[in-house]
């Protein structure tokens, strides 16, 4: 067991609380950086795609996991980011690294404006309101032909920097994605220890208590939505380069639900959960597909096998580990940390809702 000796107040908000963090995250970082050495283009390409989903998931995690506002419309912002990126590159002679933040901020502004009416609703009504966003955006993408290419979609200009053209299926673009992911992670972690982030968590836990502590609920929610959509838009911009070709069907309601599923499976209320969830959502179907190649044809050639098994695994997961992968990891860690005095009740939910807040 480890005892951390406190010598200053800054220690409370440090990213890495003790050397154990440095060791484990350092190892993780090294694994990620050296991945192209021992993984083929196929795996690297899948990882790049997982990273773009992870960034979108981080955005959604801020909203759902830390502010407690559900959204079924984040595919719309993912799409706005992706199309904005493609449109910026097609219309102006700028680098993709310049276009990305512009696309993200643009998405954030749209999210911010939409949040003003949307976040007057809570709970299931907010879910319905944001669900409409997914549907409306799909129609806009299909109808606004001059910008989006309509049903037929549009090609995305390849990412290039100083004359070097990135291959989105190869290690070079993987590093671009990884760098952006680390940047976004640092940004999110930093946000969460700032007053804004604390206010978000307070709103999630109890709006009444938050208000009594002087938190401006409306402003906090709207800010959270704006930041969340901007980050999701950035993920979309990265995804646009990964795909190289955008079509409206890539940003429909199914993707919104996938995002939500991703952060729930990963573990609500933790940044790590968004990344673990993205890895599951992207890599698990491919793993099933690969496994399928080794099955006898009578089973392996059955249409609809992959989505079936994928769905079954996810249902099983949510049934048996509602706290997600990161929740499970924390339990395992704690088990060894305090061995042999681990109690199951440690992770039982302590929060007592006010009756009026329970169903919202």
């Amino acid at each position: 067991m480890r005892f951390v000796f406190k010598t200053g107040y800054d220690q409370d908000i440090r990213f890495f609380k003790h050397t154990g963090y440095w060791q484990s995250y350092g190892f993780l970082f090294l694994t990620a950086v050296t991945a192209p050495l021992y993984l083929g283009n196929f795996e690297i390409s899948e990882l790049t795609q997982a990273i773009s989903f992870a960034i979108a998931g981080l955005g959604l995690m801020l909203l759902v996991g830390f502010t407690g506002q559900v959204s079924l419309g984040h595919a719309a912002f993912f799409g706005i980011g992706a199309y904005a990126q493609a449109w910026l590159l097609a219309s102006f002679d700028i680098s993709f690294l310049v276009a990305m933040p512009i696309a993200a901020v643009f998405t954030g502004i749209i999210g911010f404006l939409l949040a003003i009416p949307l976040l007057r609703m809570t709970g299931i009504y907010l879910a319905i309101g944001t669900l409409a966003l997914s549907i409306v955006l799909e129609q806009i993408l299909k109808s606004w032909k001059s910008v989006t290419g309509g049903f037929d979609g549009m090609a995305v200009e390849p990412a290039s920097l100083l004359g070097y053209q990135f291959n989105p299926d190869s290690w070079d673009f993987y590093y671009v994605a990884l760098a952006i992911l680390i940047l976004v992670l640092a940004l999110c972690a930093n946000l969460l220890r700032s007053p804004t982030g604390r206010a978000m968590v307070a709103v999630r836990d109890s709006e009444v208590s938050a208000r009594s502590m002087g938190v401006n609920i409306a402003r906090t929610k709207i800010t959270a939505f704006g930041i969340s959509t901007a980050i999701t838009g950035l993920g979309g911009a990265l995804f646009a380069h990964k795909l190289q070709y955008l079509a409206p069907d890539g940003f429909n309601l199914i993707i919104s639900i996938t995002f939500l599923l991703m952060i729930v499976v990963g573990g609500l209320g933790s940044l790590q959960g968004a990344i673990l969830g993205a890895l599951v959502v992207i890599l698990l179907p491919q793993a099933i597909t690969i496994m399928k190649d080794y099955l006898p044809p009578s089973i392996g050639h059955q249409p609809g096998l992959e989505p079936g098994i994928f769905g079954l695994l996810l249902v099983a997961f949510i049934l048996f580990e509602p706290m997600g992968i990161y929740g499970r990891w924390r339990k395992i860690k704690l088990f060894f940390d305090i061995f042999p005095v681990y109690r199951k009740a440690t992770f039982r939910r302590q929060k007592a809702y006010l009756k009026t807040e329970r169903m919202r």
């Binding site: 069907d249 992968i325 990891w329």
Partner: protein
């Protein structure tokens, strides 16, 4: 951390697999005993009936070749990935096929947007796009040495149809009803181009969204324009809709669709309601009770192989498989992308076992045929009316 470690393990074993596969191969996907072929298609989602039927047809063609000992001693390994008619999934599927399975060629990839999304990376990997399951002009234009199309594009089909109805039937007023997509506009372009060549002008046109349900306005508009024949840039539901609307309004006119509407669902809709609907097609539908013994044998063989009756898509899938096997045979023992392309270009007047016009390829001509038949629905079944038409 735990997942990461597992992934690392999986990755290492995966890399080892790839390395062992690459050691003996000269051309990607080709060894002395095997050639790996892939396809991304829709086994789930809105067009799953096409994808499932087509994949089964191609599988059967390859299984037949393998049962005979393969081609030049090489068995064909056919890997089919499902994209559910979604572009992002198609890109993921293509990533697996191109980067993990290291396929030699893509055979019968389904969907125009999916092909468009996959093609750049496929061409970069030097993998031929062999007879995709879409007849869009974009699959063959602009010319690329790796792109092959067996049959007439939608554009060719509708030019031939326009030519036929103006020249043979003496119609002067030709109209177009199309969905406002690349596909629909390709048909409009074909009608306009052919009418221009015949010194005529389009009499009326109407565009709709692919999910349109009501066609009363469109049909009234075309009726007022006095259309004698309407060329349809439509797929299944938006072909049935306008045709039945016209019937209900008591307007007797001719409607002609592309191969995308040459489907058992269209012909069999409510057992005869679609009688009198025309479609262009590059092959002839085989019905299970056909009198032709060869066709009957094929239909029975398919049912035995796949465990369900075939569809038009199965015929096309089977055809593309047979054509691919023929190209492998001609490419000889030393199979490379170049020898494969040369083999395809040597095909002259090749007759597919599933019927259809003879196919001729050549250098700078990677489209087998630009001709298409005219068929009509009679007693809820497709009946071919003409020899292959051209323009």
């Amino acid at each position: 951390m735990k997942t990461k470690a597992k992934m690392l393990l999986a990755g290492v074993s995966g890399a080892a697999l790839i390395a062992s596969g690459a050691a003996s191969a000269q051309t990607r996907g080709v060894t002395d005993t095997e050639v790996v072929v892939g396809s991304h298609t829709a086994l789930t989602g809105p067009v799953a009936p096409w994808g499932v039927g087509q994949a089964a047809g191609a599988r059967m063609a390859f299984a037949e070749a393998n049962a005979k000992g393969g081609v030049h001693g090489r068995k064909i390994k056919f890997i089919v990935e499902d994209h559910g008619y979604q572009v992002p999934k198609a890109v993921q599927a293509a990533n697996k096929l191109l980067n993990r399975d290291k396929i030699f060629a893509m055979v019968g990839a389904l969907g125009t947007p999916m092909n468009n999304a996959v093609l750049p990376r496929q061409i970069k990997a030097n993998v031929p796009n062999f007879v995709p399951f879409t007849a869009s002009r974009q699959m063959i234009e602009p010319y690329h040495r790796l792109k092959f199309l067996a049959f007439a594009s939608y554009y060719d089909q509708m030019r031939a149809a326009t030519n036929y109805f103006v020249k043979e039937k003496g119609f002067k007023k030709v109209c177009a009803l199309y969905q406002d997509t690349d596909y629909g506009r390709e048909i409009l372009q074909a009608v306009n181009d052919q009418l221009k060549a015949l010194n005529l002008k389009i009499a009326g046109e109407s565009a709709h969204s692919p999910r349109e349900k009501s066609f009363v306005g469109a049909i009234t508009k075309l009726r007022k324009a006095g259309c004698q024949v309407t060329m349809m840039g439509t797929i299944i539901t938006d072909s049935i809709g306008p045709f039945l609307t016209a019937k209900k309004l008591g307007w007797k006119s001719v409607f002609v669709g592309t191969i995308a509407t040459y489907d058992l669902i269209v012909a069999g809709f409510k057992k005869g309601l679609m009688n009198g609907y025309y479609a262009m097609t590059s092959f002839e539908m085989i019905y299970p009770d056909t009198a032709d013994p060869a066709q009957k044998a094929w239909a029975d063989a398919f049912k035995k192989y796949a465990g369900r009756p075939h569809t038009g898509a199965s015929q096309l899938g089977y055809g593309s498989g047979v054509l691919f096997v023929e190209a492998l045979k001609r490419a000889g023992k030393n199979l490379t992308v170049d020898s494969f392309i040369a083999a395809m270009e040597s095909l002259k007047n090749y007759q597919m076992p599933i019927g259809g016009p003879p196919l001729t390829f050549g250098p700078n001509d990677h489209q087998g045929s630009t001709e298409a038949y005219l068929a009509v629905v009679e007693n809820a079944r497709w009946k071919t009316l003409t020899k292959p038409l051209s323009y």
